[in-house]
């Protein structure tokens, strides 16, 4: 696998600006995609799809440089044989069987016919469509179509795969299956994933790193673990007598946040734990669980500080 020289990254955008007429879709964006699963998070119109198209070399930026696997993707279309792309919208010819379509897509990526046929069957097995591979894709459910879309992005064994809203339109079970496939794509298959979504929960469950786009600019970027690290807030779940417990804590001068799921108190040191123990005893409240609270990615957007309990902070 070729890296972008000097950065150790597989893909880089350096000061990339893309305009559509007077609309600025991307403004001086700097991003480095390294091995792993990178989440591209942003609201609709934040510039996620434009960034993916720039990374794929489908559109040229007005300013800045794009390097993919050490090459200029606009001038060297051959580098795209090492990239996979799963679009958000429909892209499947409904009359064709999945096996034939994937074989064709593998050939278009440069694989010889016999290898393409084998890769198509293997890839369909990995996404769970082996049995249905000879059926026309028009007869597939939405979940099956999403899996074929992922399979066509993987069939030529790319080094990097770019997924644009891969779980869009799926029911909760289908969403879980798709996110599991995305995780396996990196952890089992070894293919780096750039995962675009507007749903924080999907990114939080799936990605190692995150880049948040707002108005065509990078608002935040870093490891998901950093954003979801343990806070200095203690989260307590009870089986009863919650009001008496909260009152007992307040009597002891502890700042308390109350939600449907439990109670959050600021601090995590030993003294606080003693106060909680005493309040539990006084209120005769049965304890179900007590643990430091983790941040949620949603706080990136709401600006809530995870170290300070808010009234709704203890909601699950």
């Amino acid at each position: 696998m070729t890296l972008v020289p000097g950065s150790g990254a597989l893909m880089t955008l350096s000061k990339v600006t893309k305009r559509y007429g007077s609309t600025v879709a991307l403004h001086e964006v700097d991003i480095a995609v390294t091995e792993g699963i990178m989440g591209l998070l942003g609201e609709n119109g934040a510039g996620k799809s434009t960034m993916i198209k720039v990374l794929l070399g489908l559109i040229a930026p007005n300013a800045g440089a794009v390097r993919v696997l050490g090459q200029d993707v606009i001038r060297s279309p051959l580098v795209r044989s090492r990239l996979g792309y799963m679009p958000e919208h429909d892209c499947l010819p409904i009359e064709a069987p999945a096996a034939e379509f994937l074989c064709h897509m593998a050939e278009v990526s440069g694989l010889p016919t016999s290898r393409a046929r084998m890769r198509a069957a293997d890839t369909l097995r990995h996404v769970g469509l082996f049995e249905a591979r000879h059926r026309p894709m028009g007869t597939y459910s939405t979940g099956m179509k999403q899996r074929v879309k992922l399979a066509q992005a993987l069939v030529h064994d790319p080094d990097i795969v770019l997924l644009d809203e891969p779980a869009a339109g799926l029911d909760p079970a289908g969403r879980d299956e798709m996110l599991d496939l995305v995780r396996r794509t990196y952890r089992e298959f070894g293919i780096t994933v750039v995962f675009s979504s507007h749903l924080m929960s999907d990114v939080e469950r799936t990605c190692d790193r995150i880049t948040v786009l707002e108005g065509g600019q990078v608002a935040r970027s870093g490891a998901v673990a950093e954003y979801t690290a343990e806070t200095r807030t203690l989260f307590i779940e009870l089986d009863g007598n919650r009001d008496r417990f909260v009152a007992a804590l307040r009597d002891r001068g502890v700042a308390v946040g109350v939600g449907k799921g439990g109670v959050a108190v600021q601090g995590s040191d030993e003294d606080l734990c003693d106060l909680v123990r005493d309040a539990l005893v006084e209120a005769e409240a049965p304890l179900r669980r007590m643990a430091p609270r983790r941040r949620e990615l949603a706080e990136l957007f709401t600006g809530v500080d995870g170290d300070h309990p808010e009234p709704g902070d203890a909601d699950p």
Binding site: I59, S81, C91, L92, V108, L111, F189, G190
Partner: protein
């Protein structure tokens, strides 16, 4: 299955027992053949789409129905010529019907065009309508590669569809002649002529078909546009071109250009004995070519043909390069 029926299972040998192992995802370490492989794959897929290969009977019905019709016309022409020949000698071959290769094209050009109007949109329109074009262009393939491969695929189909009945006609005429080898010896020039005429017709019809198919994602609209492009200019320019001063407007009529090109290519077989385009090219340079029974000078006609060939190609190429994905 019992162990007696499956001794491998009893012996604990998994291979003999037919056990399937999941060896997990395997990275691909084989050859990657780049853009040429990609172009060939799109070309082959274009031919399969045009002819409905690998699809159900309904998809095959249209292209193979037209091909059958064209072949049947060739067979009928050969049969009538053969019957006349046998009954009345050489003079009888064309007594009931002009069974020449030139007349075959003149007679079937409209059928060929309708075939193109109905089949060519299959190569471009669904890829845009289904969004599959995105998947092509994120692979090592440029819009130019994609269009060129599709154009070449439909050109191949068109040329084969044009040539096949001509070979059937030739075979019929040879076999219908009392001395087949004598017929071949006297008429061998027909072969390069109908091959060239088929190629010229196929190239032009393919390019115009690609234009109409490239401008809309809907196959129906593309077919209507193509048929309109074939019929409407002729209705306007036909009467006008009867006036000697306005004869040149006939070059806006696609059917007229194709007809005149055939006249030029088959000129050597004219009753007047004018020299064919091939013969002229072989005996002289392109600059020395004289008018050969067409309404226009050879240079003017060839220029008009090239303009018809290049302009639609350039328009659709520019359109695809600017498509916003």
């Amino acid at each position: 299955m019992s162990d007696a029926a499956n001794p491998g299972a009893a012996s604990g040998d998994p291979q003999a027992a037919g056990v399937v192992f999941d060896i997990g995802y395997q990275r691909y370490a084989g050859p990657r053949e780049g853009r040429n492989r990609a172009r060939r794959a799109v070309y082959r897929d274009g031919i399969r789409k045009a002819l409905g290969l690998g699809r159900g009977a309904r998809t095959k019905l249209l292209p193979w129905g037209f091909i059958s019709l064209l072949v049947v016309i060739g067979v009928i022409m050969a049969a009538i010529a053969g019957a006349g020949q046998r009954a009345l000698g050489d003079a009888g071959a064309n007594l009931f019907l002009d069974a020449s290769h030139r007349f075959y094209y003149a007679f079937t050009i409209t059928i060929l065009f309708v075939f193109a109007a109905l089949v060519a949109p299959r190569l471009l329109c669904p890829d845009r309508r289904n969004g599959t074009l995105h998947l092509y262009l994120v692979r090592p393939l440029t819009p130019t590669d994609y269009l060129a491969a599709r154009w070449a695929a439909f050109l191949t189909v068109m040329v084969l569809v044009a040539w096949l009945p001509q070979f059937v006609l030739l075979t019929g005429r040879v076999l219908g002649h009392p001395v087949p080898l004598a017929y071949l010896g006297e008429n061998w020039r027909d072969i390069p002529q109908f091959l060239l005429a088929g190629l010229a017709t196929g190239a032009l019809v393919t390019t115009v078909s690609m234009l109409a198919s490239g401008l809309t994602p809907r196959r129906g609209y593309a077919s209507v546009l193509l048929i309109a492009l074939y019929l409407i200019p002729g209705a306007v320019t036909g009467p006008l071109s009867l006036i000697p001063e306005f004869q040149w407007v006939a070059v806006f009529d696609l059917g007229e250009v194709l007809g005149e090109m055939n006249t030029l290519i088959f000129a050597g077989s004219d009753p007047e004995g004018s020299q064919s385009l091939l013969a002229q090219l072989m005996e002289a340079g392109p600059d020395d070519i004289e008018p050969t029974g067409t309404r226009f000078s050879t240079t003017f006609l060839l220029t008009a043909y090239l303009v018809w060939l290049v302009t639609p190609g350039a328009i659709v190429w520019r359109h695809y390069r600017r498509l916003t994905l």
